[in-house]
C-alpha cells in the first residue's frame, strides 16, 4: 500500500543507482517489506502467523528437496527407503522428523492465521480476494500434505490414499472413472505412489506462487488491525521495517523453540503409530484415523450416515466435507456487518468462541473411532458448523448492536494507556 507518507526508495550508491534504472529489485523489496510499507502500529502477536506460515513452507520445501535425494518412489522400496533415511543418511532422522513435524506445525500456524482473520474480520471488504487466495492456499496445502503422507507407504499412507481418492468415487456418473484415473489402477499401487511423488514435489511451488498473489493482495489495502478501523493518518502506522521485521523475528524465535522441542523430544507425538507398519492392501487397521489437522473435516465426512433427499449418505458426506471449506469463499458476503473486528461486536464475539469450540469438538470427534457417542456428537457439531455460517452469522450481522468504534487506530492505542492524544475520544456508534 502506498500511503502518501510512505518513504520512497533512494539508491545510496552509484551501483544502486545503476541497478535501479535497469532492474529495480531493491526498490521493490523496500516498498514491500521495508520502510516503504507503512503498517498499522497496533498489530498484536496474532499478526505474526502469516510470516510463520511462510517460514513453515520454506522449511517444508528445503527439507522436502533433501528427502527427495534419498527417497525411492516405488512400492517395493518406498517404506525401506524412508527407514534408510532414518538410519543411514547423515542427519536423515532429523530432516525426516523436521518435514513430518513441520507439516503439523504448518497447519497449526495456518489454523491460527485463519481464526485470526475470522475474529478481526480480515475477510471483509476490501480484503475479499486476499481471503479467497488464502483459501486456495489452504486447499493446496491439504492436497500436498495428503500426498506427502502417502509417500511413506505405511498402513495409514495406503488407506489414506484409498479413502481420499474414494471421495471422488461418490460423484454421480463420472466418479469411479475419476478415482481410477487418480489411482492409475483399481487400488492404490505403484502408479499411485509414483504420481503422488511427482505432484507432492510440484504443489508446494504452486502454493508458493499463490502466496505471492496473497501477499500482493495484502499490500493493496494494507494489513487489517485489531480495531478493524482503517488507517487514517501517518500517526496510525509505523514502517514495516524495522518495527515488524523485528517483531516477526521474536515470533519466529518462539516458534522455532517449540518446533525444535517437538522435533528432538517428541517427534512421533503428532503422528500415527500404524504408519510404522508397511502398507498391507488386504487389511485396514482397526484404529484408522487421518492426521490431526484433517480431523474436523473427517468428522464432517462421516457425520452423514443415512440417505436423505434422494442423495446417498456417501455423497452427502463428501459434499458436506468439501462444502465446509468452499463455504468460506462466500463468507465476506454472508457476514454483512459493517464492523470488522469482533472487539466491537459483543454478540458475534461470543458466537466466534462458540464456533472455535465447535471446530475443536469436531476435531476431537474426528480423532475417535466411528462409534457412539462420537458419531452423534459429530452430527450435532456439523449441523452447528453450517448453521453458524449460513444462518447465525447473516442474522447476527444484521441485528447486532455493535459497540462504539475508536476514531482511529492511534486513538485506540492511546486510550489503552489512559491518554487521549489531543482531543477527547469521541465515541462513535457504528453505522
Amino acid at each position: 500500500m502506498s500511503f502518501p507518507w510512505a518513504k520512497q526508495y533512494q539508491p545510496t550508491s552509484a551501483v544502486g543507482q545503476w541497478m535501479d534504472e535497469r532492474l529495480p529489485l531493491a526498490r521493490f523489496v523496500y516498498g514491500a517489506l521495508g520502510p516503504g510499507y507503512p503498517t498499522p502500529k497496533n498489530l498484536n502477536a496474532f499478526y505474526n502467523f502469516g510470516v510463520l506460515a511462510g517460514v513453515a513452507l520454506v522449511i517444508q520445501i528445503i527439507t522436502g528437496v533433501v528427502l527427495a535425494m534419498h527417497f525411492a518412489a516405488d512400492t517395493r522400496v518406498a517404506f525401506d527407503s524412508v527407514e534408510h533415511i532414518m538410519r543411514d543418511v547423515n542427519g536423515g532422522w532429523m530432516i525426516r522428523y523436521m518435514h513430518a513435524v513441520g507439516a503439523s506445525f504448518f497447519f497449526g500456524v495456518v489454523y491460527i492465521h485463519i481464526f485470526r482473520g475470522l475474529y478481526y474480520g480480515s475477510y471483509k471488504p476490501p480484503r475479499e480476494v486476499l481471503w479467497m487466495l488464502g483459501l486456495v492456499i489452504f486447499l493446496l496445502m491439504m492436497a500436498t500434505a495428503f500426498m506427502g503422507y502417502v509417500l511413506v507407504w505405511g498402513q495409514m499412507s495406503f488407506w489414506g490414499a484409498q479413502v481420499i481418492t474414494g471421495l471422488f468415487s461418490a460423484l454421480p456418473v463420472v466418479g469411479p472413472s475419476i478415482q481410477t484415473w487418480l489411482l492409475g489402477g483399481f487400488s492404490p499401487d505403484n502408479a499411485t505412489l509414483n504420481r503422488f511423488f511427482s505432484l507432492h514435489y510440484l504443489l508446494p511451488f504452486v502454493t508458493f506462487g499463490v502466496i505471492i498473489l496473497h501477499v500482493w493482495a495484502l499490500h493493496i489495502p494494507g494489513s487489517n488491525n485489531p480495531t478493524g478501523v482503517d488507517v487514517k493518518s501517518e500517526a496510525d502506522t509505523v514502517p514495516f521495517h524495522p518495527y515488524y521485521t523485528a517483531k516477526d523475528f521474536v515470533g519466529l524465535g518462539v516458534y522455532l523453540i517449540v518446533f525444535a522441542a517437538f522435533v528432538f523430544f517428541m517427534p512421533n507425538s503428532l503422528g500415527e503409530p500404524d504408519n510404522y507398519i508397511p502398507a498391507n492392501p488386504l487389511s485396514t487397521p482397526a484404529l484408522i484415523v487421518p492426521e490431526w489437522y484433517f480431523w474436523p473435516f473427517y468428522a464432517i465426512l462421516r457425520a452423514f450416515t443415512s440417505d436423505f433427499l434422494g442423495v446417498p449418505a456417501k455423497l452427502w458426506g463428501v459434499i458436506g466435507m468439501f462444502a465446509s471449506i468452499l463455504l468460506l469463499f462466500v463468507l465476506p458476503w454472508l457476514d454483512q456487518s459493517p464492523v470488522r473486528s469482533n472487539n466491537y461486536r459483543p454478540l458475534s464475539r461470543i458466537l466466534f468462541w462458540v464456533f472455535v469450540a465447535v471446530a475443536l469438538g469436531l476435531g476431537v470427534c474426528g480423532g475417535k473411532p466411528a462409534h457412539e457417542p462420537w458419531v452423534r456428537l459429530s452430527q450435532v457439531l456439523t449441523a452447528y458448523y453450517f448453521a453458524h455460517f449460513l444462518i447465525i452469522l447473516p442474522i447476527v450481522s444484521k441485528l447486532e448492536k455493535t459497540s462504539p468504534l475508536p476514531n482511529s487506530i492511534s486513538e485506540a492505542v492511546l486510550a489503552k494507556y489512559g491518554k487521549t492524544g489531543g482531543g477527547a475520544p469521541v465515541a462513535q456508534p457504528a453505522e
Binding site: 488407506w159 485396514t284 440417505d307
Partner: protein
Amino acid sequence: MASEVRQATADNLEPGGERRRDFLYVATAAFAGAGVVPVAWSLVNQMNPSADVLALASVDLDLSALQPGQAIKAAWRGKPIFARHLTPEEIAESNKVDVASLRDPQSLADRTKPGNEQWLITLGVCTHLGCVPLGAAEGEAKGDFGGYFCPCHGSHYDAAARIRKGPAPKNLEVPPYTFKSPTAVTIG
C-alpha cells in the same frame, strides 16, 4: 497508405457482415483449439491405468479347510476377497430379514450360487470409501449385525455382507466366480 486500405475495406463491409480477417481469426483459434485438445488429453490420459495394470488375472481358492463360521481373505486384482462359510444360524438370520427394508435390497440367494448358499464370496472392499471391513479374521469386530464392520467411517454389514448401517451405499460386491468342485472355486 495502410490506413487507406483498411478504410476502404471497412467501407465495403455490409452491416452485420463478416470480413475475411474475422474468418481468419476464428479459423486460427479453432485450429489452435483443435490442436490443444488432443495434447491436453494425452497429458490427462497418461494417468489412466497402464497396460501392465490392466492385465487382470483369476485366482483359485480351496475352501475345503473352512469350517462353518470361518472366513478367509485372498487377494484378487489387488483387492481382498472374503470367502465365508456361513453357519446354518447365519443363513436363517439372513433369510429372515425383510429384503425390501434394506438400503441395497438383495436376498442371500441373490448373493450366492444355487446349492452353495453356505459359501458367501464377496470383495472385502467397503462400498463407502474402499477400506477393508473387519470381521473376516478370528476375533475381529463383526459390527452390530454379525457380519462385517468397517473401521474407517463405521459402516455395518450383516452376515450376508449387506449394508445395514453407516454411510456405505451398497452391499459388499459379489465378484464373478464358478465352483470347480464343491470346495474349489475360481474367481474372475
